[in-house]
């Protein structure tokens, strides 16, 4: 069978499972006794194993298999999660990730994972290198019928309850097989076979599959519905050979309800009644039983993984791009039709075109939404990253993520990951102080990083806020002066906020020794330029001693923008509306020359006036002879620049097209768009004109 056609599906799904593994492991680490999370992890690992085996990726399959063995012990409360196991499992997930990455890159997913496999196997054998002496225990199911070591789900519970109401006997049976029994599974099978003849086994512990595979110690227990009496059943089973002991207890409504609903209380007795094997293992078994009971006890809180997943289909991103391209052509035709209709002045035509405009407007919204992806896809790798980083730096950090469902265009999502990683690392590394420093500063030893995303207007904001030491603006300024980024005089006039922005200055981070400003600034200029290239902006708000907030502002989408079309002679250009402050007309007399540069007074400020026609060497236009010149005032941050143009054509929604790979980067031009008449107009990048 040709597996290639399934490969992309395999990769997608593997990534999903790995993601879920990572998330669940984080969840489990925060809440180590929640066995329901172990179930989720187990299922993911199991599915991954199956998929990998089917696709022939043996190394992947065998590593997941080893993980499964460990997880299996955990979910059956035979092994208590602890740091070493977490670390090993995380390592395993990392290894799996790199294998899948290798497969993505066309490799065969082979990797040497023998070290991890060895540690996993050691864990399964119970050899956990932990000074605490918490050796993996094979704890016997705690036995006493009333203590209810076997938990029923809602369905099983109601079956039992119903059969009781119908006059059947509900028994709790526990069978212990003799130690010297050679074929435990066969004996167990005989017990089941016998029971099935005169009733029905509702639930057994361990599960029937596990019993068949001899995955039980010496005893197993089960819930059983029958017409016969408890003692009768007990005698029947004892008749089989090699059975050491049988306990059979008939349950009544009361005790059943106790099992189902009050299991928390019931299990609280377990520590006292269970055979004490080791002082460490018992509380663990008890508490994990408790949470399992809570989970399965019927009316408990909905499972964490619950909630109907929205029904989705996977779409090849290329197809979506094709759709986008086709749609942008439609948009171009629409603009053309609107032009024609306004020329023709035919009522029916105008009406039709207007209707079409509305429909295509709606269509545009939907097409845009198709490309929207929740930022979750970027955020989801951060908790793990922060955990590892905090651990390696010996800090205590709580990452609080909010607004992960906020959506952004896929093109933005693809690009935004790296800058965010950088900012987060910065926050962990330099923002949050060490535990001792925090205590000295009277703060809780656990630092908090808030990672939040939210919509505001036509933008999405992503903020990374921590309650760390904050930025010392004086130190930053000193360092900036030393590195020649600004002069002493400039530094003297700067307020705190301006000083913080210096961290993004290009020259700031190239210097070698940055540690004197707690290392902030390393590579931040790269972050800034990356975000700027996405049409976004990043700002810092910091209070010394209280913490720092990096706020990243991003456009919703990159491919369609509102723009002002202008004319320079026979040529047309588009200027993104987002950077235009104002348009206007100036008289020649208003233009001054300072140091040979043309300046203009604009709102009590002198701003430079640029000649676009000269910058672009427009062949058939020059504004220098005109008495009155149209200007466009554009902004980059706080700085303003006026650009002289010949005419305004009007405001339009334009589809951004790139200029192709062949053309080199052209200063001042960020792309092109196609106008209603089919002509190509270049898009001006005003940022390039503002230093």
């Amino acid at each position: 069978m040709d597996m290639n056609q399934y490969l992309s599906m395999f990769i997608d799904e593997s990534n999903d499972h790995l993601q879920s593994l990572n998330e669940s492991m984080m969840g489990l680490e925060a809440n180590p006794d929640d066995l329901s999370i172990v179930q989720v992890i187990f299922r993911s690992a199991h599915t991954l194993k199956g998929m990998a085996a089917t696709m022939g990726f043996e190394d992947l399959a065998s590593l997941t298999h080893q993980m499964e063995n460990v997880l299996d012990l955990v979910r059956n409360s035979k092994l208590r999660m602890q740091d070493f196991i977490f670390d090993t499992l995380f390592k395993s997930i990392d290894a799996l990730e790199s294998m899948v990455e290798d497969i993505m890159g066309g490799g065969d997913g082979k990797a040497d994972v023998s070290a991890i496999v060895t540690s996993l196997q050691a864990i399964v054998r119970g050899e956990v290198p932990n000074a605490g002496g918490a050796v993996a225990e094979v704890s016997k199911p705690a036995v006493k019928a009333s203590d209810a070591p076997v938990f029923l789900d809602e369905f099983q519970f109601s079956v039992l309850e119903q059969s009781m109401q119908e006059g059947h006997n509900v028994l709790y049976v526990e069978v212990t097989i003799r130690k010297d029994c050679q074929l435990k599974a066969v004996r167990a099978y005989m017990v089941f076979d016998l029971l099935e003849r005169s009733g029905e086994v509702i639930k057994s512990f361990p599960s029937v599959q596990d019993i068949e595979q001899e995955k039980f110690d010496q005893s197993f227990s089960l819930y059983y519905i029958t017409q016969k009496g408890a003692s009768e059943i007990q005698a029947m089973i004892l008749n089989l050979s090699e059975i050491e002991k049988v306990t059979s207890v008939a349950l009544d409504q009361e005790s059943l309800r106790q099992l189902g609903q009050d299991s928390v209380a019931a299990t609280a007795e377990v520590p006292t009644s269970a055979p004490v094997i080791s002082s460490v293992s018992v509380p663990s078994a008890a508490s994990s039983n408790t949470s399992a009971a809570r989970e399965e006890g019927g009316k408990a809180a909905p499972a964490k993984t619950g909630g109907a997943p929205s029904r989705t289909i996977r779409v090849d991103i290329e197809r979506l791009d094709v759709l986008m391209n086709l749609f942008s052509e439609l948009l171009i035709d629409r603009v053309r039709l609107e032009q024609l209709a306004s020329e023709v002045q035919n009522g029916d035509l105008t009406e039709t075109v207007e209707h079409m405009s509305r429909v295509s407007g709606d269509l545009q919204n939907i097409v845009m939404k198709l490309r929207m992806v929740p930022v979750d896809t970027v955020f989801n790798r951060f908790p793990r990253m922060v955990r590892d980083l905090a651990k390696s730096l010996d800090k205590k950090i709580d990452l609080v993520v909010t607004g992960a469902e906020t959506e952004l265009d896929r093109t933005v999502i693809d690009e935004i990951g790296d800058p965010l990683v950088h900012l987060l690392r910065n926050a962990v590394d330099h923002g949050i102080e060490s535990v001792s420093d925090r205590i000295a500063a009277g703060k809780p030893e656990m630092g908090t990083i808030n990672l939040r995303a939210f919509h505001s207007g036509n933008h999405v904001f992503i903020e990374i806020e921590e309650d760390g030491a904050g930025i010392d603006s004086q130190k930053v300024l000193k360092s900036a002066v030393k590195k020649g980024v600004i002069t002493q005089e400039q530094a003297a006039t700067m307020n705190d906020e301006e000083a913080h922005q210096m961290l993004f200055a290009a020259g700031f981070s190239t210097a070698e020794v940055i540690s004197d400003v707690s290392g902030r600034g390393v590579g931040l200029d790269v972050v800034k330029s990356k975000i700027s290239s996405l049409g976004g902006n990043v700002t810092i708000y910091s209070t010394l001693g209280k913490g720092t907030n990096f706020s990243v502002q991003l456009p919703l989408t990159l491919s369609i923008i509102a723009a002002m079309l202008i004319r320079l002679g026979s040529e047309k250009y588009a200027i993104p509306l987002s950077s235009i402050v104002e348009t206007g007309i100036v008289k020649k007399s208003q233009i001054r020359t300072i140091h040979g540069n043309k300046m203009l007074e604009f709102r009590n400020k002198n701003i430079p006036l640029l000649s676009l026609s000269r910058i672009f060497s427009v062949p058939d236009y020059d504004e220098s002879d005109e008495e009155e010149t149209e200007i466009v005032v554009v902004r980059k941050g706080e700085r303003l620049v006026a650009m002289a143009v010949q005419d305004f054509i009007g405001q339009n929604e334009i589809v951004i097209k790139n200029l192709g790979k062949y053309l080199p980067d052209i200063q001042g031009i960020s792309g092109a768009t196609i106008l209603g008449d089919g002509q190509v107009a270049l898009i001006i990048d005003p940022n390039a004109f503002i230093k």
Binding site: N658, G660, P664, G668
Partner: protein
């Protein structure tokens, strides 16, 4: 016996050139070109090819031949090499021929004033017709353009 290849034949001045048909996407009549400022003189600008913006090169300018007026015969050959889509303005393009690879010889040092590195070889067709096979990767090599520009500058 080497395989036959299909070749698009076009003219620049009196010379005939060939490009393998797989590398050619379409051949268009002359269309409005939007000038792109601050770039090489032989890049005439960009065109709208059914919704895709494509840069257009005057092949005469690229090869250092004097550029001429565009006529009815002028064509834009859209080629795609290494993920780059580029249009070539040529004097005319109206032939597709089959060529045996064996009939392509390595290029002499100078053919029609064009540097040999732009050429894949020269094919002889019939008695006295010579076809110059273009090495598109070299023609579109940007590193070399910079060099060329700096020489000119």
């Amino acid at each position: 016996m080497a395989e036959d290849i299909k070749v698009i034949v076009f003219k620049l001045g009196s010379e005939e050139y060939g490009i393998e048909v797989e590398k050619v996407q379409t051949i268009e009549r002359m269309m409005p070109i939007t000038r792109v400022p601050k770039t090489y003189s032989f890049i005439k600008g960009v065109i709208n090819l059914r919704g895709v913006v494509i840069p257009v090169i005057d092949l005469r300018g690229r090869f250092g031949i004097e550029e001429g007026e565009h006529t009815d015969q002028t064509r834009v050959i859209i080629v795609s090499v290494n993920d780059m889509e580029v249009g070539f303005i040529v004097d005319s393009a109206n032939d597709v021929i089959d060529l045996n690879r064996d009939s392509i010889d390595t290029p002499p040092d100078v053919v029609g004033g064009i540097k040999a590195k732009y050429l894949d070889g020269v094919a002889k067709i019939g008695e006295d017709r010579l076809l110059i096979m273009l090495n598109l990767a070299e023609v579109l090599n940007k590193g070399e353009i910079v060099h060329l520009e700096s020489l000119e500058g």
